[in-house]
C-alpha cells in the first residue's frame, strides 16, 4: 500500500471532507491522527472506520485556533509516533455556506474577516511552525492546505471565508519557496462545492443546479472526490511539485 508506515495528521477530520481524507489515507495503510475540536464520538467513529479500512488511527482533541493546543497536539503525536510525514490543514472556523442568508459586504465587520483569517491562516501558520522542527530533522514531508475554488471564481461572494482562503494560497506559495531547499513540499487543494457536509447542508438545490450546469463533469463534488488529489500531493508521485494549487471541482475552474 502507498502509505504503509506513514504518519498523517489531518486537522478537523471528525466529519465532512476531513473524515473522508482520513479514511482514504487509512485505506492505503497510513496511521492517521484524527484531530477534532468538539465531537469526540464522531472522531472515534472515524478512528474505527480507519482501522477497518486497513490503517491505524488515533483521535486527538485540539482547537486549531489555539497555539498552545496545536503545540500539544504535535507534541503528543511525536511522542507516540516519533515522526510526522504528512500534514493536511483541513480545519477551518465554522462557516455556513447559505447563499440566501449570507452577509453582504456592507454587513460585514472586520472581525468576520479576522475570524476567518484566524481559522484558515493563523491555524495553518501555527501548525506549520509546530511541525517544522520534526520535518526539518528528516528533510522530508508534505504539507497540504485546503483552500477553495471560490478563490478563483467567487460564484457566491463569501467575502470573509474566500479572502482567508486566498491568503492561505499566498501563504503556501511563500512557504513552498522557503521549504523547498529543505526537501519539504507545500501545496494546496481547492475543492468546489462539496455536498453533503455540515457546512454545505444549507446550500439550496437551485444553487447546486446552477453550479452543475456550468461544470464540465456535470455534478457536485462529494467528500470522497477530494481525497485522491490530496493523497497524490502527499505521495512521492508528486515529489517534484510544490507551491501548486489543484482545483478539484469537475472543471468549473480551469487554470
Amino acid at each position: 500500500m502507498k502509505f504503509d508506515g506513514k504518519i498523517v495528521l489531518v486537522t478537523g477530520s471528525s466529519r465532512g471532507i476531513g473524515a473522508a481524507i482520513a479514511k482514504a489515507f487509512a485505506g492505503e495503510g497510513a496511521t492517521i491522527i484524527v484531530n477534532y475540536v468538539q465531537n469526540a464520538n464522531a472522531a472515534e467513529e472515524v478512528v474505527s472506520a480507519c482501522k477497518t479500512a486497513g490503517g491505524d488511527a488515533m483521535a486527538i482533541q485540539a482547537d486549531v485556533t489555539s497555539g498552545e493546543q496545536i503545540k500539544a497536539l504535535v507534541d503528543q503525536t511525536l511522542m507516540d509516533f516519533a515522526k510526522i510525514d504528512v500534514v493536511v490543514n483541513n480545519a477551518f472556523k465554522p462557516y455556513t455556506f447559505d447563499p440566501d442568508n449570507r452577509k453582504q459586504f456592507w454587513d460585514l465587520e472586520w472581525q468576520d474577516y479576522q475570524d476567518q483569517l484566524d481559522g484558515a491562516l493563523f491555524s495553518t501558520y501555527t501548525m506549520c511552525q509546530a511541525v517544522l522542527p520534526a520535518l526539518k530533522k528528516r528533510t522530508q514531508g508534505s504539507i497540504i492546505n485546503m483552500a477553495s475554488d471560490l478563490v478563483a471564481r467567487p460564484t457566491i461572494p463569501y467575502h470573509d471565508y474566500t479572502t482567508a482562503k486566498s491568503a492561505l494560497i499566498g501563504f503556501s506559495r511563500n512557504l513552498a519557496m522557503e521549504l523547498g531547499p529543505l526537501g519539504i513540499r507545500v501545496n494546496c487543494v481547492a475543492p468546489g462545492l462539496v455536498y453533503p457536509t455540515d457546512a454545505s447542508r444549507k446550500t439550496k438545490e437551485r444553487v447546486k443546479e446552477m453550479i452543475i450546469a456550468q461544470t464540465p463533469m456535470r455534478r457536485i463534488a462529494s467528500p470522497e472526490d477530494i481525497t485522491g488529489p490530496v493523497m497524490f500531493l502527499a505521495s512521492d508521485w508528486s515529489r517534484f511539485m510544490t507551491g501548486q494549487t489543484l482545483y478539484v471541482d469537475g472543471g468549473l475552474v480551469m487554470k
Binding site: 452543475i212 450546469a213 456535470r218 455534478r219 457536485i220
Partner: protein
Amino acid sequence: MVLKAGYLPGIDDDAVEWQTLTYDRDGHAIEVSVPLLSNEQMQDLSERIKEASRQHLKSMTVSDITATIDAAIARLLDRNDTYRQQAEEYLPLITGYDAEMIRLGLTGYLKTFRQSELRRFIAEDFGNPKILDEFQPLPKGGYGKAYGPDLLAHIWAGNVPGIPLWSLISGLLVKAGNIGKVPSAEPLMASWFARIIAETDPMLGQCLAVVWWKGGDVDREQALLNQADLVVAYGNNDTLHQIRDRTPITTRCLTYSHKVSFGMVSKAALDTGKAWDVAHQVAYDIVRYDQQGCYSPHVFFVEQGGAVTPQEFAQYIANELDCFEEKFPRRTLTIEEASGVAAWRQSEEMKSFSEENASVMGDAGGAWSVAYSEAEEDLAPSGLNRTAKVIAVKQLDDVPARIAPYRAFLQTVGIAAAPEELHRLAEMLGAVGVTRISALEHMTAPEAGWHHDGRFNLLDLVTMTEVERSAETAAEAFSDYVD
C-alpha cells in the same frame, strides 16, 4: 428502535394484535410494528368511522377541511417538526431510497397539498366547489349536491413515500370517512399523516383510520370490502382483479393498475447547447424513486436529424445517470429486483449482437443501464431500477401508431419538442390513450389536481343528489303564497 405504524381512532392499542415488520438495508435494521385487526374489530372500526363521517365530517365545509389539511401538511413541510424529522430519518431506512432524494422529494410532493393547491384541485373537478357543502343551482335546471361515501376503503401499494396521501386527501376533500390499508413496503407516511390530522382537529381525526394486513390476506381484506361504500385500489392487474371480484356488487371499485410511461425528444431539442440539459432532465426522471412510479419512464423515443444524434444523446443520458449515482445513489436491490435488471440487460445484449449500432451502456454490476437501438422496436417495460431504452426514430410523428396497441398500459409521456410539435403530438397521443403529457424532469411529479389515469380523482368519489326542476315547480303549487 421500534416504530409504530397504523392509526386506529377509538380502539385501544392493547386490544389489538401487533406484528413486527423488519427492514434491514445496508446493515441498518429497523422494526415497525403494524396493527392486525380481527374481523370484528374491522367491522367495529368501520362503523365508528362511518358514524363520525356522518356526524362530523359531512357538516364541515370544504374550506374547513382544506384548512385542516393545510395545517397538517405545513407540519410535514417544516424541517423542525418531529414528524418531518422522523420521515427524513426513517423513510430512507424503510424504502432504501437515498436520504437526499427523499428529503427533496417529500418537499416537492407535499407542497402540492397546500391550501391554494387543494382549492385548485377541487376546482378542477367541481366547477362550483360549494356543491360539496350545499345544494347549488345546476346549469340544466334544478339543484344538486355532491356526497362523498360514508366509508371509502383505500388499498395502497408500492414503496414511493407518501403516495397514499393522494387518495386519502381526496377522500377527506369529498367528506368521506376513510380506512386505508398501507403496504408493508412503506407503512409509515399515511400513519403519520393521519395522526397529524388528529392532532390538528381531533374530530376530523375520528373520520380516518390506517390499517395493515399482509398482502394476500383475503379474510381481512374481505372484512373491509364488505363494509366499504366505495373502494379505491392500487396494484398489479392480478391483485386488482381479485379485489374487484370480491367487492360486493353494490359497491363501486375504482382500480389503478400498473402503467408504462415514456419520453419523446424532438430533434429541435438536440442542438449542441440544449442536448445536455435535456439529457439531465431525462436522467432525473429515470432516477427519481428508481422508476417505481406509474409515471416513471422506461423508454425514450429520440428523433434523428438533430446536431446531436440519438446515439450520442443516449451516451449523455448514461453519463448523467453516472453523475446522479453520486448525488442520489440507487437503493440496494432485492434479489428479485436485481434479477429483473439482469434479465432485461441480457435480452438487450442479445439484441445488440444481431443489430447494427445497438448497444448497452453501463457495467453489468453497476447502478444503471441504458440500451440503445435503431430498430423498429415497440414499447416494452425496462428492467426498472435505473434501466432505460433509447430508441432512435426518423420522426416523432411515427411513434403514436407504434404505441397504439398498448392503450391499456399508457399513462405519462414526457416531451421535449417545439410548441407546434408538442400540440400536434398531444393530439395523436391522446387519441391512442395517453392521459398525461408533461415536460421532461416533471414526469414523476404530477401537478396538483392532475387526473390520475385520465380519471376525475374527486368526481369519481361522489354521488350527486339532484332536485329536478319539476320538483321545484311542483312545490310552487303548494306554497302558501300561491295565487
